[in-house]
């Protein structure tokens, strides 16, 4: 069975890897520490696709998710990469 690319599914929002140098600025804007962000599992199918693109993503990196939102057009959310729940 060929591997399924979940990113192509209409219901999966766009995931980006946040460049390490941008992290500080984003955290400042959010007024939050890294451990206060929601988490994303390294085993998440969406993250697997990103790893294919960027190479290994270490835990502690940030992922940006752009969602189409009924109220705000596009809304940005951030996730902290963690290894296990």
């Amino acid at each position: 069975m060929g591997s399924l690319n979940v990113m192509k599914h209409a219901l999966v929002p766009v995931h980006h890897l946040v460049p390490e140098e941008d992290e500080e600025e984003i955290l400042e804007k959010l007024d939050a520490r890294k451990d206060q962000l929601p988490k994303i599992l390294k085993a998440d199918p969406a993250l697997k696709q990103l790893i294919e693109k960027h190479g290994d993503i270490k835990k502690g990196r940030l992922i940006q998710i752009d969602r189409i939102s009924k109220t705000a057009g596009i809304s940005k959310a951030y996730r902290l990469v963690v290894e296990r729940e």
């Binding site: 959010l30 007024d31 939050a32 451990d35 206060q36 962000l37 929601p38 969602r67 939102s69 009924k70 109220t71 705000a72 809304s75 940005k76 959310a77 951030y78 296990r84 729940e85």
Partner: protein, 889 residues
């Protein structure tokens, strides 16, 4: 960083297990006798009611601390068990430990290197915030990996499979493990091996999970009650403890005299049963312990758990003082901010007043008037209690009024009855949203019911068919201020649910305003005086002169109550949605234009002032403030009632009368549709029906029939409404949105139409037919629940039956829905109750973890939004044009 302001923060709470030594240390006395009282009714030493455990009878003193009933909160005791017994609450933990450690040497089933890796992982998790749930989960995973090896890496011992025979028996392959053996194994596990298994050896040892000593709660926890007959009735827990003591005694005796193993084991099992049910009497797999009457005992877990448990019943919710409950009834002369409180309630409910140098004279006068003063037959607030600075309360009576008044000094507190203008909270259950509890201003009224303005019925979802409501009197100045600013009814005119008004005109108000404004009728001086007779207002509406007489136009009267500078355009509810809207030149007078607070064209109805829909109310609340909106609602509803009282309004079954010709026409349409369905059914049987994509042949027929018959009813409705114009009172109500809908009228005048069960035509009941009155396999309209009659004509028995089927479904649905949505809401509230929106619009929990980056993703407060949107461009433009017009540009 604004999100601080926590006065005190709990650093940590640790729940840990008690060791046998700790239990003994805590114990005030050892308990050995199952008897409670001696023949004289005194507690027996070392019995379950030993006075070392505290006292429950007045006069006695606690032997441990010497305190009396109200001073001593009780002390724990203990029972030494003859044989160890498993604690039901920890069987899962014990199973996990037994399986993941060696049965021979007690070491965890992994090499030391593996163990250290897991320990560091545990440590890492603890440091990273360490949610107990996460730790438990990791421990479970580690235990699972350990369990996989069947040979101990430390002593090469073979590991047998350990099973748990619910609820409390352990088995290794086919031999039973006694609690004693279980305990011995748990004792062998070294401290460091506990860490990867989720236990902290500093605070807990696993062998404690098998009880050797049982903690006995103080008597104050399980008080006995003395019945009128003089008999004592013991608490359920005491009963259970008596059982435990009895069996424990027998077990010890049998063990000591060396009875056969079988008897000892039986008694041991019985002790296990009693201790298990003492802790949890609803353990699955064992019958609950019962009272002699057959009622099952309420033991430890039952005291805490569920709706009637300690948490939900006594800690999350409590009974309150300073509250009242009675039937509600309507009062159109009250403001929406007010609530009518009957005199009897006003006398009983009190507000504390601090006596100061400024008000002491006033308070003296009040006290002199006594507890129940009247002035010319009118209610006056009285004083019920005087509280001295030392906390002593003096009840005020007619006789002691004078002496008490003299005694009052600055620093006293006086509890006076309710007064007009006091702020109280008013509530109707179910409290489904925040508008279910609002602050009102008190207005004392005669009678025995609470009164409220009709416009506040929608937020409370109240009617007057016997509804009762609760009232709470605020006791502190801060609470009153807070309630006034945030909870006053006028602050809730706009609902956060949909960003529109939830308070507005209803029913007769809307009909009244329709009469006032539709097609701009003329009112004589006499009429206007009558309409205005109950209104409080400044000035009078502009008059015009007709045939030398002063007359008033309806729209001018309405305009009199609009705030100056209001500009708005909207379509009335009566708008027929023509293809091209003629706006101001609408023949139906359905296009509302208000310029600078003057109603130029249009009919005022539900979409202007109604609850849920009223755009004018919405705009006034938004642009002119809540006070202005309250005044508008108060006045306009009273105005509408003035008009409708003047005009008179009624509806009857005659409103659904149709000319003979139309009745015939409707009949023909329905017959025709019926015939067509019959043909379709025939085509289906002959296999000539064309199948629709994605549907079976039968589904195709059902869909087509449903469509056809649906259309037939609509056509019948259309024919009916052709003869029912705006001159008809029933139609007036439906079209303006005052009450009922056009569909209701169609069903009364035309035909009821298809009855549906689960969205389909009824098909079950008898073999291949719905009722024995039809042929087997009949698929026609009538055989499948189509009702040709109207409510007015009346239904024939078969139709009536189908109608009842549909009605029952509706009833069941609502019953199921309410219970399910109630539970769903409970879970939601529990999950969300401590989330907060911070000033950067992020939603966070108390740990400051982000739940949502921006509230609602756009950061808009729905209550201050315009129908969910942050801004309404059209509205802003209209205001701009108005300014331009003023400037003459």
């Amino acid at each position: 960083m604004i999100r601080r302001g926590i006065a005190k923060r709990v650093g940590a709470i640790r729940f840990a297990y008690m060791s046998p030594e700790e239990i003994r240390r805590l114990s005030a006395t050892k308990i050995i006798t199952p008897d409670t009282y001696d023949d004289d009714g005194f507690p027996i030493e070392m019995g379950l009611m030993d006075t070392h455990l505290g006292v429950i009878e007045p006069g006695l003193r606690c032997k441990s601390c010497g305190g009396r009933v109200d001073q001593c909160s009780g002390h724990f005791g203990h029972i030494e068990l003859a044989m160890p017994v498993v604690h039901v609450g920890y069987v899962k933990e014990i199973k996990k430990l037994l399986r993941s450690t060696c049965s021979e040497c007690g070491r965890i089933l992994m090499t030391d290197e593996e163990r250290e890796i897991f320990i560091s992982e545990m440590d890492g998790l603890r440091k990273l915030g360490g949610d107990p749930l996460d730790i438990r989960k990791l421990a479970k995973e580690i235990a699972f990996t350990a369990r996989k090896s069947s040979i101990c890496p430390h002593c090469d011992g073979q590991q047998l499979k350990i099973m748990l025979d619910k609820p409390t028996t352990f088995r290794e392959e086919n031999t039973k493990l006694t609690p004693k053996e279980v305990r011995a194994r748990l004792e062998k596990i070294p401290d460091r091996d506990l860490i990867p298994l989720g236990l902290n050896p500093e605070f807990v040892r696993p062998e404690w999970f098998v009880l050797k000593v049982l903690l006995v709660p103080p008597v104050t926890v399980r008080p006995s009650i003395t019945l009128e007959s003089g008999d004592r009735s013991e608490d359920d827990l005491t009963h259970k403890l008596v059982d435990i003591l009895r069996i424990n005694h027998r077990l010890r005796e049998n063990r000591d005299v060396g009875s056969p193993q079988l008897i000892v084991e039986d008694l041991w099992d019985l002790l296990q049963y009693h201790i298990t049910t003492y802790i949890d009497n609803q353990t699955s797999g064992i019958p609950p312990a019962r009272h002699r009457s057959g009622r099952s005992l309420k033991t430890l877990i039952q005291r805490l758990k569920g709706k009637d448990g300690r948490f939900r019943q006594n800690l999350s919710g409590k009974r309150v003082n300073f509250s009242a409950r009675t039937v509600i009834s309507p009062d159109p002369w009250l403001s929406i901010n007010q609530v009518g409180v009957p005199v009897r309630a006003a006398r009983e409910l009190t507000v504390p007043m601090k006596v100061t140098a400024e008000n002491i004279e006033l308070i003296r006068e009040m006290i002199l008037r006594g507890p129940e003063p009247w002035e010319k037959g009118k209610y006056k607030p009285g004083v019920n209690y005087i509280i001295r600075p030392d906390g002593r309360r003096i009840r005020l009576t007619e006789t002691n009024a004078e002496t008490v008044a003299e005694k009052v000094e600055v620093g006293f507190t006086v509890e006076r009855g309710l007064m007009d203008g006091d702020i109280v909270l008013f509530n109707r259950q179910p409290s489904l949203h925040r508008m279910s509890m609002m602050a009102h201003e008190v207005k004392t009224v005669p009678g025995k019911t609470f009164r409220l303005n009709l416009a506040v019925c929608p937020p409370y979802n109240a009617d007057f068919d016997g509804d009762e409501m609760n009232l709470h009197v605020l006791q502190s100045e801060e609470a009153r201020a807070e309630a006034k600013v945030m909870m006053m009814v006028q602050e809730h005119i706009l609902s956060p649910r949909f960003g529109g008004p939830i308070i507005g005109a209803i029913q007769d108000h809307i009909t009244g305003l329709f009469y006032l404004t539709h097609k701009n009728p003329l009112f004589s001086r006499r009429d206007v005086v009558s309409i205005f007779s109950n209104l409080v207002t400044e000035g009078s509406p502009e008059a015009i002169t007709v045939d030398g007489e002063r007359m008033w136009l309806g729209k001018d009267i309405f305009s009199h109550f609009l705030p100056e500078g209001l500009n708005i355009q909207l379509r009335s509810s009566i708008c027929e949605s023509c293809d091209t809207c003629k706006k101001r030149d609408c023949e139906n007078d359905a296009f509302v234009v208000i310029e600078d607070g003057k109603l130029i064209t249009g009919t005022i109805d539900e979409s202007s002032v109604g609850a849920f829909k009223g755009d004018i109310v919405d705009k006034i609340a938004r642009d002119f403030g809540t006070t202005e909106a309250r005044i508008f609602i108060d006045r306009v509803t009273t105005l509408a009632l003035g008009v409708i009282t003047l005009k008179g309004f009624t509806t009857s079954i005659q409103d659904e009368d149709l000319p003979k010709m139309s009745v015939k026409q409707i009949e023909d349409t329905l017959l025709e549709a019926e015939e067509e369905v019959k043909e379709m059914a025939q085509a289906y049987r002959d296999g000539e029906l064309e199948q629709m994509p994605g549907r079976t042949l039968q589904e195709t027929l059902e869909v087509m029939a449903l469509q056809k018959l649906g259309k037939a009813r609509d056509n019948a409705g259309k024919i009916a409404s052709k003869h029912l114009g705006l001159g008809n009172n029933a139609v007036k109500m439906a079209r303006t949105g005052a009450r009922a809908s056009i569909l209701n009228l169609t069903q009364m005048a035309g035909a009821l139409g298809q009855q549906a069960i689960r969205g389909e035509r009824p098909s079950r009941g008898y073999d291949q037919r719905t009722l024995p009155h039809f042929e087997k396999g009949e698929l026609g309209a009538g055989a499948r629940g189509f009702v040709k009659s109207s409510y007015k004509e009346g239904l024939n028995p078969i139709e009536f039956f189908f109608h009842s089927m549909g009605g029952r479904e509706g009833l069941v649905d609502t019953a199921v829905r309410t219970s399910r949505s109630g539970y769903m809401q409970r879970r939601l509230i529990n999950a969300l109750e401590d989330l907060m929106v911070y000033d950067d619009a992020s939603v966070r929990n108390p740990a400051d973890t982000i739940i949502q980056f921006k509230y609602g993703e756009d950061g808009v407060d729905p209550m201050r939004s315009i129908k969910g949107k942050a801004i309404d461009m059209d509205d802003i433009l209209m205001d701009m044009y108005a300014i331009k017009r003023e400037r003459g540009e």
